[in-house]
Amino acid sequence: MTDFGALVKALNEGDVDFVIVGGLAAAVHGSARLTQDVDCVYSRTPANLERLVAALRGHGPYLRGAPPGLPFEWSVATIERGLNFTLTTDMGDLDLLGEIPGGGDYDALRPQAVEVVLFGHRCLCLDLAPLIRAKRAAGRPKDLEALAELEALLAARGPSRDLA
C-alpha cells in the first residue's frame, strides 16, 4: 500500500521540484475516487535530477512490474536516458513523469499548479482545470468517470482557488 505522506515528505525534504498530478491531485481537489500511486511531473534540470536521485536513493526505487534482478541503477544517468518512470519504492508506487499529455513538462505545469500543504509539507499540485485538461487529452476511456467527477467538483468549487 502506498504511503502518500512518506512519498511527499521524501520528495519535499529532498528539495525536489515536482508537481503532483493524477489521482492524488484529484483527491487533493476533493475527488472521492481511489488511487494507488503517486503521479508527479518532475523538473529535468541537472540539479533537480541530482536531488531526485538523492531523495529516493534510500527507498529502493525499482521498475514496477519488471522481473526481480534486472540491472536497474537508480542514477542521474538512468533518468537522463528516459522520461517517464513507473517505480516501486519502500513507500509505495511512484510514477515520475517528465511530461504529461495536455499539460507538458514541469516548466509548463508550474504556473498552473497551486500550493498545498500535505501532511505538513508545502508542495505543488496541478490545479483542477488543468488537471481536467490533461485527463481529457490522455483520451483514456477509464478516465471518463473520473472526468465527470472532476468537472462536477469544478462546478461546485469554481475554476481557481488557493488550497494552501
Binding site: 476533493g30 481511489l34 468517470e145 469544478l154
Partner: protein, 77 residues
Amino acid sequence: MARPVSSSDAPSDGHHALRAAGLEPDPVIEAYKAGVDRTLLRENLRLSPTERVRKLIALQELAEEARRAGAAAHRGR
C-alpha cells in the same frame, strides 16, 4: 477553506464553470455526470487537502482489507 456550496451549484451550472476554465462540455463526459455522488464531493470540499488524502488512505486500507479477506475466504473453500 472551501466556499459553502449553494443551490446555484446545481449540475446545470457546470457548463458555466467549464467555459470559465476554457473548456467546452463534452457530451460523453456529460452522460457520466449522472452517476456522480455530489453529496460526497460537498463533504470532501469542507475538508483540508490533508484530510482529503487521509480519507483516501482509509479507503485504500479498506480495499486492501477486503482483498485480503476475499483471498482468505477463497483459500478456505
